[in-house]
Subunit: 93 residues, 4 copies
Amino acid sequence: MPGYAADKDKVLTRLRRIEGQVRGLQRMVDEDQYCIDVLTQISAATKALQAVALALLDDHLAHCVADAVAAGGPEAGAKLAEASAAIERLVRS
Amino acid sequence: MPGYAADKDKVLTRLRRIEGQVRGLQRMVDEDQYCIDVLTQISAATKALQAVALALLDDHLAHCVADAVAAGGPEAGAKLAEASAAIERLVRS
Amino acid sequence: MPGYAADKDKVLTRLRRIEGQVRGLQRMVDEDQYCIDVLTQISAATKALQAVALALLDDHLAHCVADAVAAGGPEAGAKLAEASAAIERLVRS
Amino acid sequence: MPGYAADKDKVLTRLRRIEGQVRGLQRMVDEDQYCIDVLTQISAATKALQAVALALLDDHLAHCVADAVAAGGPEAGAKLAEASAAIERLVRS
């Protein structure tokens, strides 16, 4: 089970809403709407994606990483390094 | 006509690809795929959205803002202030 | 004269304050202060640097880029492309 | 002892280098150097600060958070929530 198992429905709802935002962006561009209005909606979709990422990361730390750390052994260090790399990608994107 | 008129097809193609990425994310979550793999794909979708925003902003500066500046008058200052606010939203998102 | 000529003193004051924030960070680390408190102060310094960058960019668009666009010729396109590249670096950093 | 205890000298060296970068920025502005060159150096300093933050966060997860998780009890959840909030501030800054 992934770390987000308990939040799966909520995550799916948020992703479906983001899909709707991206389809809305296509409609705006198709209708030649003003650049700045399109950019404002892109910023909103980007923030929504980041919010999903932060929620998944919380779940990952609280379950997958915490379980590995509680179990101890080499897996703990591997999980921590993997989480750090994911955080770095998030901060850089 | 918006600043992105000449790039409209290319922008729509990129947004459709991003819509596909967000649907792919839903499939990953629905299939209980590993948190870190989902996060990696979210980072990719976020970067793709930012790249569209940067392309639209380039077009906006090179057309809408440049035209207003070349025409002169108070509209020029208004367009510059509006572009600065959009850049700030992008940097902060 | 650079685009920020009229704001030069204000920019210098902000940069000196950021230098103080970075020296404060060294003091915190030297005194073994708690990781999270150090991270909070790093976020504040990062935001302050970004705010200076956004202010410089505003000035650059409103003066250097606008002047080149008003003058017309190949220099206008070069200044726009250069500004776009700087915006991209800002968004990515 | 903070999570970065073993890396303290390295962190201090990086922060001193960033202080030098911020002083270099003041010199550039004082000498009226070109906006885009100043912006490039601000992006470099911002990235350097983020890199220190990511290093501190790694240490924090691998020591403070991992120790609390290994010890179990309510402190573990508190440390995880605190780390998540710090990650969110980093992603948003």
